[in-house]
């Protein structure tokens, strides 16, 4: 068995020793440098741009402005394209804009011989604006008369969706019901992957070639084609090794602009390297979502009727748009099934940073709101939080009518039991009740569920190509990308297992090139072991059949009597080794009668989806006078089905927990109310948590193999971030009695709330 083993990741040595080459390492040092002129107003029309001083600076090759760029509007979301215009992503972008919609929007660009000349030229460009009022708050933006960002969207509402189940209004008339209501706010945060966005472009013959740090090379190809108004086949996109993406690079960022700038200077090589400040200001962020939840329940905790309204702050452009709010809203009636439910979700433009995809795609926001609310319900009705969850959480056998997703095992109870045992929950929960004094401890937990892929909302497709080398080793090519998460190692384990070769006989192509690699939509959702797994399994099974068919020529054994094990063709009936796969490959290729290069290519479409589950338990110490939370212990327990590589799975969980800790306790993008400017768009002022802020991160698993999955897997990439913040919130509540209804739960918030509650 190769699946289930903690094999070291295939790129570990090269990454640890610095041999891996990332995008910037690959760029020719003679490349021209592109820099962007960002607006210093939050909302305005550009009246004029004076480039005369910039053009005089030595080393400046070209200056272009928002008045020069072609009028091809394009979308940026890393979604599969839809052939139905109704379901296509919103095309609201131009390469540079005359209508500035956020502080930092792109109004001009410079190409120069070096960075210093480019930076000086950017400073020398003079832009005249006709300033407009701006709006940053999501509910303010919906009001009549609020500044309008896009004329096509009245009241700035990009989209509003509703869901109704049962009869909420009738149900709440039941006598004796207890009403619990709360508002929960989550902040705008950034992904903070180590490698900033970077790309470079040049023309080769009639093609534009873009090398880019992206999660979605095949989608970038399409969007560059759309933005430049050229056939998509004339665009070649290459994705090297990537220093993290977390969803930010599941968007087309500056690849179209870089390609355009290259064409503006005769196809010369142009590099566009975002600074960290630009990554904060001009890439994508997580949607800030404000949620309002009302629950009517009976004294015993039975849920009778529930309502959710959520307001998702889209920022200036549509990007992934309503998909994020919709995901969280869709989860609401499922996690705690209830007969009478009303859900309304709004996604609203504001003059903030553009929100796109970020690890957990709306679920971190939703779980904070829903699980904080669960804890609030328990406080109001005096119910034990564990008992409430065990009574109300999605039960075994639950089937969602729309997706047909099913909960096949008693997974919530299994996960809760495992987490509670590790952290000694029951004892500590009792011990920490009713403390006094300045320093107090608390313990809390939160469950979550997560949908693995996007079906049936969007297309789920993946392809895989396998080529048998002359030594019998296998080349594997997929369109879905390694971005640091370990996908290539897991894919290789899958391929080796299904074909029947040792792990080191599989060579996966880690860098996608749209002119070479089969089509795949990329790394996003938590879909790759699931969706790409179908393509790998399908391709490997077919390749194996093909190998055995060809082996018949040399072994004269019927294919159904043979198998491949450990790189050898064996006779299945008695296990005798007939020949090695290497010998077969060599003989087949150099056969003077009938030469065969053994290959296979398959596309798999997933028409199923899978629920992934788990929980987080957190123990904190709160220093009330200092307004500080110290995280003492934390564990995530996940049921992500079968583990392909337990060590890599644990690493995924640890990284997600770290992201969850920052989300819970310190991260937030801060805006100047007077100007709309992002104030803390750098790694000093944006408080990404450091490992000095983390206790040991414990990752444990419950393995209930997913019946619909090619390898028994389901989501793990995103879910670890989801339950951390509400678990910490519950722990702080237990320690102090203070409910915190916004993130991050940082010293500023603690000071304010402790004062309100007269603790300080």
């Amino acid at each position: 068995m190769i699946i289930g083993k903690s094999i070291p990741r295939i790129d570990a040595r090269d990454k640890a020793t610095g041999r891996i080459r990332y995008t910037d390492d690959l760029c020719d040092k003679g490349a021209l440098i592109a820099k962007i002129k960002h607006a210093n107003v939050a909302h305005a029309y550009v009246k004029s741009v004076d480039t005369s001083e910039a053009e005089k600076i030595p080393g400046v090759v070209k200056v272009v402005t928002c008045f020069d760029v072609p009028d091809f509007r394009f979308p940026t979301a890393g979604h599969p394209w839809s052939t139905d215009p109704e379901h296509q992503d919103v095309c609201d972008r131009l390469l540079l804009t005359k209508h500035v919609r956020y502080y930092g929007d792109d109004v001009a660009a410079v190409v120069a011989e070096d960075e210093v000349a480019a930076a000086r030229a950017v400073d020398a460009i003079k832009v005249e604006y006709e300033e407009l009022p701006f709006v940053l708050d999501v509910q303010e933006a919906m009001k009549d008369g609020a500044p309008l960002l896009h004329e096509e969207y009245p009241n700035n509402v990009l989209r509003h969706t509703s869901m109704r189940k049962g009869n909420y209004e009738e149900a709440i008339k039941e006598p004796g019901l207890i009403k619990v209501e709360g508002w929960y706010d989550t902040p705008t945060v950034q992904h903070c992957h180590i490698e900033n966005f970077i790309c470079f472009a040049s023309r080769e013959n009639e093609k534009i070639v873009v090398v880019t740090s992206t999660q979605i090379p095949h989608i970038v190809r399409r969007v560059v084609g759309q933005a430049l108004g050229i056939p998509w086949g004339q665009v070649r996109v290459i994705k090297p090794y990537i220093g993290g993406g977390f969803g930010n690079k599941q968007d087309v960022l500056y690849e179209p602009l870089c390609a355009y700038l290259s064409l503006q200077v005769g196809g010369r090589l142009v590099k566009l390297d975002c600074s960290r400040e630009e990554t904060f200001r001009n890439n994508r962020v997580r949607h800030a979502i404000r949620s309002h939840i009302v629950t009517y329940c009976r004294k015993d905790g039975t849920l009778v009727a529930r309502k959710l309204e959520c307001f998702s702050n889209q920022g200036a452009y549509a990007s992934h748009g309503h998909a994020i709010a919709a995901k969280g809203a869709g989860a609401f009636p499922q996690l705690y099934p209830c007969e009478n439910v009303e859900v309304d979700a709004w996604t609203v433009f504001t003059n903030r940073q553009v929100a796109g995809a970020m690890r957990s795609y709306g679920m971190a926001q939703a779980d904070f709101a829903v699980e904080s609310h669960s804890d609030d319900i328990c406080r109001v009705i005096g119910m034990d939080p564990m008992e409430f969850r065990r009574k109300n959480l999605m039960p075994k056998g639950y089937v969602d009518a729309f997706s047909k997703n099913e909960l096949y095992a008693d997974t919530f109870n299994q996960c809760l039991d495992k987490g509670a045992a590790y952290i000694d929950y029951d004892r500590k929960f009792k011990e920490y009740q009713n403390q006094t004094g300045p320093i107090r401890r608390g313990i809390g937990f939160a469950p979550f569920w997560y949908n693995t892929a996007v079906w049936p909302i969007a297309l789920e497709t993946a392809s895989c190509r396998m080529i048998v080398n002359q030594d019998g080793s296998i080349q594997v090519q997929v369109g879905d990308t390694e971005i640091g998460q370990g996908a290539d190692t897991a894919f290789s384990q899958m391929a080796a297992e299904t074909i029947g070769v040792p792990f080191d006989m599989v060579h996966i192509l880690s860098c996608q090139d749209t002119d070479v690699t089969p089509f795949g939509t990329g790394a996003y959702a938590s879909r790759q072991t699931y969706v790409t797994g179908f393509a790998i399994r399908d391709c490997a099974e077919h390749l194996k059949d093909r190998i055995l068919d060809i082996a018949y020529r040399y072994t004269r054994m019927q294919p159904y009597l043979m198998d491949i094990q450990d790189g050898n063709i064996i006779r299945a009936t008695d296990g005798r080794v007939l020949m090695s796969l290497g010998d077969l490959a060599l003989q087949a290729l150099y056969d003077t009668e009938n030469s065969v290069h053994i290959t296979m290519e398959r596309t798999a479409q997933a028409k199923s989806n899978a629920y992934s589950f788990g929980c987080c338990f957190a123990e904190v110490e709160v220093d009330i006078p200092m307004c500080r939370v110290k995280l003492l212990n934390i564990i995530n327990v996940h049921d992500c089905g079968r583990l392909i590589n337990p060590a890599l799975a644990a690493a995924q969980v640890e990284g997600g927990m770290s992201m969850g800790i920052g989300y819970a306790l310190s991260e937030k993008m801060i805006y100047d109310e007077k100007t709309g400017k992002l104030l803390n768009g750098n790694l000093l002022d944006y408080k990404l948590s450091t490992f000095m802020d983390h206790p040991h991160l414990e990752a444990q698993f419950v393995e209930n193999p997913e019946p619909t999955s090619a390898y028994g897997t389901k989501a793990l990439g995103e879910p670890p971030v989801v339950p951390v913040a509400p678990a910490i919130r519950a722990a702080i509540r237990q320690a102090t009695g203070v409910a915190l209804n916004e993130l991050p739960m940082d010293p500023h918030l603690l000071f304010r709330r402790f004062k309100e509650e007269h603790l300080i």
Binding site: M626, C627, D685, D693, P747, H748, F751, I760
Partner: protein, 295 residues
């Protein structure tokens, strides 16, 4: 790529002074952990630099005959933290500089840069204020000594005149002998942080450890420049070591500080911290000095 117009490398302190005279617009660069950031941000783009980083004569810590501890201005934070003289006599300064940024910054950043940068949040500054440090400044006229309390003229402005550079930080024997201290840094995270507020307290207790013979409280980020809490010090000097005295300190320091209201932290929060941190640092300093005080 940094936008630097020119860089002049000093071969000696004397040469550095000469370069300062020849290039009055040029900025001194030591470890570069502040200057390079300002160049990258554009605030110093296109500047001229005078590098003094190679001047080993300005590096290292020694005890002079009169007991003065002399810290060369180019001594790095990690060096200061690990130095036996510092650990023995002014361990609180070692603790304070060990809270700067992260390991890389502590290896490159210097105490001279930390003081000459002129910012109120410098982790070394409040402790140097608390120990009445004296700065040795070398210029065309030779050496002059400047008490640190007079060195800071305003945010980012220090009393370095034409041709001058800071060559050493001096802490006199009477400033450290018999004193024990504690520096508390308040940040929003536990590393890679600039202080929201820093508070350095040191105490000298009576023989029986019951009476506060002397007390010094200094703050970073409680005003535009680092400052001492003189009102409080004068009021409680000679008091009994007790929770009541500590509570008085917590109240009185509010008269000594004047933190600003900013998006990095609200004024009322900073005032709360000034008070809480003084009491916490006082408690720890008393305990280090052998005194007893309840929480």
């Amino acid at each position: 790529m940094y936008d630097i117009k020119a860089i002049y490398e000093a071969k000696s302190v004397e040469h550095a002074v000469q370069l300062r005279m020849e290039h009055p617009e040029a900025v001194i660069i030591a470890g570069g952990s502040d200057v390079l950031i300002k160049i990258r941000e554009g605030r110093l783009a296109g500047c001229e630099l005078i590098s003094i980083y190679g001047l080993d004569e300005m590096r290292g810590i020694r005890k002079e005959e009169d007991g003065t501890i002399r810290i060369g201005s180019l001594t790095s934070f990690s060096h200061i933290h690990a130095d036996p003289l510092i650990q023995k006599h002014i361990s609180v300064l070692g603790d304070a500089v060990n809270m700067v940024g992260g390991p890389q910054i502590r290896a490159i950043g210097t105490i001279g840069g930390n003081t000459c940068n002129g910012v109120t949040s410098a982790d070394s500054a409040s402790t140097l204020f608390a120990y009445d440090a004296v700065l040795e400044i070398t210029g065309p006229e030779g050496v002059r000594l400047c008490p640190i309390s007079e060195f800071y003229l305003g945010p980012g402005k220090v009393d370095l005149r034409e041709g001058e550079l800071e060559t050493a930080v001096l802490i006199r024997k009477e400033s450290y002998s018999g004193y024990k201290g504690c520096y508390l840094k308040y940040g929003m995270r536990n590393a890679m942080e600039i202080a929201t507020t820093g508070c350095s307290v040191n105490v000298k207790l009576s023989q029986d450890k019951k009476v506060l013979k002397d007390l010094r409280i200094a703050y970073g980020v409680a005003g535009p420049v680092p400052r001492r809490a003189k009102v409080t010090e004068d009021a409680v000097r000679g008091s009994e070591v007790s929770p009541e005295t500590r509570a008085r300190i917590g109240e009185l320091v509010l008269e000594d500080v004047n933190p600003r209201d900013s998006w990095r932290a609200a004024k009322d929060f900073r005032l709360h911290l000034c008070s809480t941190m003084a009491m916490r640092a006082f408690t720890q300093a008393v305990r280090k000095a052998g005194g007893e005080i309840d929480d």
